[in-house]
């Protein structure tokens, strides 16, 4: 896999999997939502330096959310600050290090210090130390480290703390906690994908020990800033400016929805993007999914066969599923399926919603779901193309409805120019019976011959956008059901209508029932689309945004005119 997004010779590489390989200047330039958190961490560490206080932090968030990025930036800022550089040293335990005992942990800490501060820590001394028994090694290392950090502080970066704690086991965790309590010379800045039992269970030693800080996903504004910033690091200022313009908003909205604001995915997209034309955008998004698929699927390798089957089923199915249905489809007992589902939910892979006494499960991470579909022959991520058209229609075609004009002309609406949403709405208004509704839709489709994807997708989007107008008509429930039936009957043969048809049907049910309980079985992404369809007045900020502050100066990239501070920077936790 190409881990460094180095597109042309001389460009600064942006490493998506190893941020410490990215030059600090570039790393800082693509930091769009970390400023406040970094400042807080740095202030906290600096404030504790003169005293004997220690403060332990646990950053948590899904894969690719920027945890290592934040650690790398903190590393650079602590080392470059005159306030802190001489008063602390940092040991960094990376995510690939496997540690199963306290002596091994202390050894890893010493080795990391020896790597980064070779003048202060001797490899020869360490080699001699290894002649001793492990318990003695731990004692000697503890004494040595305590002596070294009498007047300065050890900052210990630990990636994937959950894995370290699993390796240490209960006994090792207690030994570590005792060490940190008795010899408070180290501050732990650690990361994990999600909070885990060792820190959340009040019966565990590390309960309440860390300040947990959630790394939130990027907002839409930050997604736009990040994609633009990466384009700038690639010496593409024109592309970077276009990305920030309202014209590109539908593309970044699609990216944001598909990746849940995942920074790693945004960087991948930005490095694959060569042009802002729609076909290039969809290619770059599909390329992003392809590129990140191995990384996304990594957690599945740790699952049991039944858990993998459940994940596979949920990825293939277009909606959320309840345990009873999962058991039926997998030819398994509901009890054993229920237990595995609970475990998957606890590990953060599934999310659930309740309707009445039923619980519906879906894959939590949209990107993981897309990656699963990407690897399954016959399953194409149709949502990508639909979403691009949907966002374009939603965000850019804010033209007033043409419906009154169409009706005033009292003519068949399907051959009139205008928004497909209006055409559908007019058909629903004009034709009262199911047969004539179907005929109307058929005639409209006939008018569009040849029926290419480029013609059908806007029409599918238009169908969904007609829902609010359909709601305004206050048809009888039977008439609404007729509408849904007519649509499904006439569009079933077109794959481009699958998503729109499904959502249209659910939308009609919502209009009939007057509530959104029908939303429950939909997956998160489709729920969002249907909500947008039913509530088109939801405000969308189409304003251009500024590039992130702290952008590197020329010649890396032209300095922005007004590098505004991150006014909407929000690190909610």
């Amino acid at each position: 896999m190409n881990t460094a997004a180095q597109t042309q010779t001389g460009h600064h590489p942006v490493s998506r999997f190893a941020p410490h390989q990215t030059p600090p200047l570039v790393l800082n330039a693509i930091s769009v939502n970390t400023h406040r958190l970094l400042t807080n961490l740095q202030e906290q560490i600096t404030a504790n330096l003169p005293s004997g206080s220690t403060h332990h932090v646990l950053l948590y968030g899904p894969r690719g959310c920027g945890k290592s990025h934040i650690l790398t930036l903190l590393w650079h800022s602590l080392h470059s600050s005159t306030q802190t550089a001489e008063k602390l040293q940092i040991a960094w335990l990376h995510e690939l290090q496997t540690i199963t005992s306290l002596p091994q942990l202390l050894l890893a800490v010493y080795q990391s210090l020896a790597l980064h501060y070779p003048h202060d820590y001797s490899h020869d001394w360490l080699n001699q130390l290894l002649e001793h028994a492990p318990a003695d090694v731990a004692e000697i290392l503890t004494r040595r480290l305590a002596a070294r950090f009498t007047n300065r502080r050890l900052i210990l970066f630990i990636e994937n703390l959950d894995q370290l704690f699993t390796g240490l086991g209960s006994q090792g965790q207690k030994q570590l906690r005792a060490l940190l309590q008795e010899q408070p010379f180290a501050c732990l800045i650690s990361t994990t994908r999600q909070l885990f039992q060792s820190v959340t269970d009040r019966n565990q030693p590390f309960f309440g020990f860390f300040q947990p800080i959630e790394i939130p996903p990027l907002s839409l504004q930050h997604t736009r800033q990040l994609v633009s910033a990466v384009a700038r690091t690639r010496h593409k200022p024109a592309l970077a400016d276009t990305i920030l313009s309202p014209d590109f908003l539908s593309a970044t909205s699609t990216l944001h929805q598909l990746t849940n604001g995942n920074p790693r995915a945004c960087i991948t997209f930005a490095t694959l993007l060569t042009d802002t034309a729609p076909e290039h955008v969809s290619t770059a998004i599909c390329g992003t999914i392809d590129d990140l698929t191995p990384d996304c699927l990594l957690p599945l390798s740790e699952l049991s066969p039944l858990q993998r089957q459940i994940m596979q089923l949920l990825s293939e199915h277009h909606s959320a599923i309840n345990p009873k249905e999962i058991a039926r489809r997998l030819l398994t007992e509901q009890g054993s399926v229920g237990k595995q589902i609970r475990l998957l939910a606890e590990s953060g892979l599934l999310t659930s919603r309740q309707r009445g006494r039923e619980t519906w499960y879906e894959i939590k991470d949209t990107l993981l779901r897309l990656a699963c579909q990407h690897c399954t022959p016959g399953l194409t991520p149709a949502i990508v193309h639909f979403l691009l058209h949907w966002n374009q229609a939603r965000l850019l075609r804010q033209t007033p409805a043409q419906l009154p004009m169409l009706l005033a002309e009292n003519a068949p609406p399907y051959n009139a120019p205008g928004d497909p949403a209006d055409k559908f709405a007019a058909i629903f208004l004009l034709h009262e019976q199911l047969d004539s509704l179907q005929n109307g839709i058929r005639q409209m489709l006939d008018m569009l011959q040849p029926l290419t994807a480029a013609r059908l997708l806007p029409l599918a989007v238009g169908l969904l956008r007609s829902l609010p107008k359909l709601a305004q008509c206050r048809f009888a429930p039977d008439r609404l059901r007729d509408c849904a039936a007519a649509v499904l009957q006439q569009t079933a043969q077109f794959p481009q209508f699958q998503i729109a048809g499904r959502l249209f049907q659910t939308g009609v049910r919502c209009i009939i029932s007057g509530n959104q309980a029908e939303f429950v079985p939909l997956v998160q992404l489709e729920r969002t689309i249907l909500q947008q369809a039913l509530n088109p007045a939801t405000a969308v900020d189409t304003q251009p945004v500024n590039p992130p502050s702290g952008f590197p100066p020329a010649p890396l990239a032209p300095a922005p005119d007004a590098p505004a501070p991150d006014a909407d920077d929000d690190h909610s936790c």
């Binding site: 404030a47 504790n48 332990h56 207690k174 906690r177 005792a178 008795e182 030693p205 309440g208 909610s572």
Partner: protein, 336 residues
């Protein structure tokens, strides 16, 4: 002062515990102590403050015992601490004296002794020593150590360790200890009792329960944290009061909330609890329910809620929730 939830604090940043710590020092003159309290109430910070600011005449030694998994490890720890306390000259004198008295060279060899012998020898040395200071052990996470000994060496050994510590306390006036831990020691005692090994292991200890901070100290802590973190407050004093009250004056949670506010960088306004009179309640109910209760029915309902300790009436006749916790629970339950 910066918010620091869960970390180790400087002694001057441990607010509102001076009186409690004075009480502990006074008690130590007479007997050893079992310090108890819910998790995250600040038990360890109290021990650390005692360690860093000892009362004259005392030499505290702090240990987190969750690292100990066997009786011999525990005995060696105590032995080493006492030897360290006694100093080189006294240690050498004791070794020579034992050699002459018992002619047993294995007393010199630490590994030759059982854990009980080691404990007794160490505390005997402490008794004989004429030090200017008295040694006090501050032992944290004792129940976890006992739990670990139970699992590694059996319940009987854990009971013996408890009994040995008790006999040291009873027989040696020089031996003083504060025992504490995240989980209650009664869990271990219950397990021993269920296994047919009842032990009076803690009946000679003074039980000191760590209370929440008193309101004034909690508000003081909240004020200093809000100020130290530069958190914008509409009315600093009101916010600090509200914050302290909401978390029932527990310092850990005050620290946590301020740390959270720091990250949010939001301005803070205290959530004022409305106190409503009966006419105001009637007016409110008339707007939000289709069939508001009549005057007598409403009074009857208020009396019942008052009797059930859900609400309270102030001297002006206005009603309010009896406690913040009930109010918070109600708001969460009603998704308000």
């Amino acid at each position: 002062m910066k918010a620091n939830a869960g970390g180790n604090l400087e002694p001057q940043h441990v607010y509102g515990r001076d009186h409690f710590i004075d009480h502990l020092w006074q008690t130590l003159e007479l007997q050893s102590i079992l310090q108890s309290g819910e998790r995250r109430t600040g038990k360890t910070q109290i021990l650390r403050k005692m360690l860093q600011q000892p009362r004259p005449g005392w030499k505290p030694v702090f240990h987190d015992l969750e690292k100990i998994h066997s009786a011999i490890e525990f005995a060696e720890l105590v032995f080493n601490d006492i030897q360290q306390f006694l100093g080189t000259a006294t240690r050498a004198k004791n070794v020579i004296q034992r050699w002459f008295e018992h002619n047993e060279t294995d007393y010199i060899n630490l590994k030759g002794r059982t854990w009980k012998q080691l404990l007794n020898a160490a505390v005997n040395d402490l008794d004989k020593a004429s030090q200017n200071e008295k040694l006090v052990f501050l032992w944290d996470e004792v129940p976890w150590m006992l739990d670990s000994i139970c699992r590694h060496e059996g319940l009987a050994v854990a009971a013996q360790v408890l009994d040995a510590i008790r006999s040291l306390r009873v027989e040696h006036s020089s031996f003083r200890v504060i025992l504490t831990g995240s989980i209650g020691i009664h869990h271990i005692l219950a397990r021993l009792s269920a296994a047919g090994i009842p032990t009076p292991a803690i009946n000679d200890l003074y039980h000191a329960h760590v209370p929440p901070l008193n309101p004034a100290d909690a508000v003081h802590l909240a004020t200093d944290l809000l100020t130290g973190e530069n958190i914008r407050c509409s009315h600093l004093n009101d916010v600090a009061h509200c914050l302290a009250q909401e978390v029932e004056y527990q310092p850990f949670y005050i620290q946590h909330i301020v740390a959270h506010l720091r990250l949010k960088q939001a301005s803070v306004t205290p959530d004022q609890q409305p106190e409503l009179s009966v006419p105001q309640l009637k007016q409110h109910l008339a707007t939000c329910t289709s069939a508001p209760p009549d005057h007598d029915h409403l009074l009857q309902l208020l009396r019942l809620l008052n009797a059930d300790h859900y609400i309270t009436r102030n001297t002006h006749g206005h009603f309010n929730f009896r406690s913040q916790l009930i109010r918070r629970w109600w708001k969460l339950d009603q998704a308000l």
